[in-house]
Amino acid sequence: MKNPVLEIKDLRTSFNIKGDYYAAVDGVSITVHENEVVAIVGESGCGKSALALSVMGLHDRKATKLEGQVNFAGQNLLTLTRSRLDKVRGKDIGMIFQDPMTALNPLAIIGRQIEEPMDYHMKLSASEKKKRTLELLRRVGIKNEQRVYEQYPHELSGGMRQRVVIAIALACDPVLLLADEPTTALDVTIQAQIMDLMKELQNQMKTGIILITHDLGVVAEMADRVVVMYAGEVVEIADVKDLFENPLHPYTRSLLNSIPSNMEGKEKLHVIDGIVPSIQNLDRKGCRFAPRIAWIPEEDHEEIPEMHEAAPNHFVRCSCYKTFYFPEDRVGEKEYVATNS
C-alpha cells in the first residue's frame, strides 16, 4: 500500500444558520494516498465542496464549526493557527476552483498571480520566479506564455483562465491537489481539454488529487478510487472499476441508472424520486436515502447505518443495498422473493 498523503477522519463541518449549527459534512472519513486520484461524487448540496473548503480552511471561521481531523504531513490542519496553515496551503496543497471567470483577481496580471504563492513559500529571485512561471504556463498548455504573463484575466478565454488557475495550484509543486469541479463552468469541448491536461499533469507530477465532481464521465476517466456522498455522508467507497461494474448502494445504482447511455433500450430515463433535503430539513436518523426509495421496507435499513466492507476495498453504508431493486424492473412480476447477495 502506498503512503497516505491526507487522512480525513470523521470530519464534521457545520454552518451557523440563524443561531443553530447544521452539519453539511457529517462524519466523513477519506484517505488519499500518494499519486492517487480520489473522486468525490454526489448531487449539488451533498457537501462535497464544503468538504474541500474545510480541508483548505477556507470557510468563514466565525460561521463554521469544524470537528474531526484532517491529517496532513503529521499535523491536523483543523487545529492549525492561520499563520501555520498559510505555510501549508499553496505550498503542499494546491486548490483548483470551479469558476475560472471569478477565481482570478481582475486587477493583477496573470504572471503576478501565479508568482504569488512563490512569494510566500519559495526563496526565489524575481527573475527565477518569472522563469518558473513561464515554465508553468507552458506546462498547462499555454503557448504564447510571454504574452499571457503580462495579460489581465479579462483578456483571456474561460479555458485559458482555467489553465492559469491550474498553474497557480501547481506553482509550488504540491503533493496534494484539490480540484473542486474544475470543469463544471466550462463548455463541453473545453472540459475535455482541461480533463486531458489534468490527466497528463497527474501522470507527470505524481500528486494525490481529490477531484470533486458530479460528472460520472470525468470520474470514469480520471479517478482511481471513488467516494460517493449523499446528504453529508459517504455512502460508498470503491475502486473506480468496482464501482462502475458493481455498484452497491441504492444511491450509486440510481445515479448510474440515470445516465442516458445506460438505458439499454428502456424508454424512460430513470429519475430518483424526491429531492436532496436541505441541511436544515435533513432527518439525521437512520438511512438518509430511505425517503427517496420508499418502496424498500423500513426493516431493510439499519437503525444506525454503518459502513460495511461488502467486498475487498469496497465499502457501503447501510444494509438496504442487499435488498434494493428498481421498481420499473419488477413490473409484471407478481411476487418478489428477497435474495440476499
Binding site: 473548503l53 483548505m56 480552511g57 477556507l58 492561520r82 499563520s83 496553515l85 498559510d86 505555510k87 501549508v88 496551503r89 499553496g90 505550498k91 494546491g94 486548490m95 476552483f97 469558476d99 471569478t102 477565481a103 482570478l104 483577481n105 481582475p106 486587477l107 493583477a108 498571480q113 504569488e116 504563492p117 510566500y120 513559500h121 489581465y152 479579462h154 488557475v165 497557480i168 495550484a169 506553482a171
Partner: protein, 322 residues
Amino acid sequence: MLKFILRRALLMIPQLILLSLIIFMLSKAMPGDAVTGAFMSNPNVSPEQVEKIREKLGLNDPWYEQYGRWIGKAVQGDFGQSYVHKQPVTSLLAGRIENTVLLSLFTAIVIYLLAIPLGIVAGRWTDTWADKMIVTYNYFAFATPLFIFALLMLFLFSFILGWFPIGGSGNIRIDPGSWEYIVDRAKHLFLPVMSGALIGTYGTIQYLRNDIIDQKIKDYVKTARSKGVPEGKVYTRHILRNSLLPIAAFLGYEITGLISGSIFIESIYSYPGLGQLFLQSIAQRDFTVVTALVMVSGAAVIIGTLLSDIILSIVDPRIRIE
C-alpha cells in the same frame, strides 16, 4: 493613453458650448436686463435714453449676435462688468477661485484621510464594536444638516472657546509668504474644512465598507487564501485594490462637487469664496457674475468627470484604453 485623454478633452468642447448656450438663454429669459438693472431706479434717466443705451450696448441685436459677443469675450476671460461691485467679473472671481479651490482641496483630503481608514476597518472587521461605532458615526454624519453642523462648530470653537477666527480667509495685514501668514490662513481654513469634512465622509465610508464586504466573499479572495497569502496581504494585495477602485474613480466628482457645493460653508464662515459670492449675487440680481459662476462650476463638473474617467482608466485594466 494620451490619445484617450486628448479625445476626451476634445469632447469637452461641445459640452461646454452647450452649457454656455443654456446659461445664456436662461439669463436672457430672466425678466429685465443689464440696463434695467442699472438705471431702473434712477428717475433722472428717461425711457428714451434707456432705449438709446440699449441700442448702443447691442442689447437689441438678435440673440445669436449677443451670444457670439458674450462667448467671444468669455473665451478670452472677460465675463463683463459686475453691476454691484462695479469691477470686471474676472478680477472679482480671481481671488475667490483660489480660496474655494483651497477649501475644497483640503476638505477632500481630510474626507479621504478619515473615510478610507474607517471604511477599511468597518469593512474588514464587520459586526465588531469598531464597525458598529463607525456605522453609528456614519448615520450621524448622514443625518446632520451641513448648515446646522457648521453653525454649531462656529458657535462652539470660535464664539465660546475662541480657538479660531469667526470668519474671513486671512488677516490682510500679514505679509503673504511668511510663516505667520501660512499659520493664519490655516487657522481660518480649519473650521470650514472640518465642518465640511467631518460630516462629508459618510458616502465614502459606507461605499467602501459595503464594497469590502462584497469583495471578501468573492472567489478570487478564496484563491488568494488557498495560495497561503497571510490575511493582511489578502486585504492589501487583493480586496482593497478592488474596493478602492470606485473610490478613486469618484475622486474627480468629489472635488468638483465640493467646489460647487461650498455655498453653505462659505456663507456661514463668511469665507470669501465662489459660494458666498454666488449667494450674494443672486440676492442682488448681479447677473453677469451669476452667469460667470454657473459657467465656471459647470466647467468644473465637466473637468471633474474627465478627471474621474482618466483616473479610472489608469487604475482599472478592464477599461484601460491602449
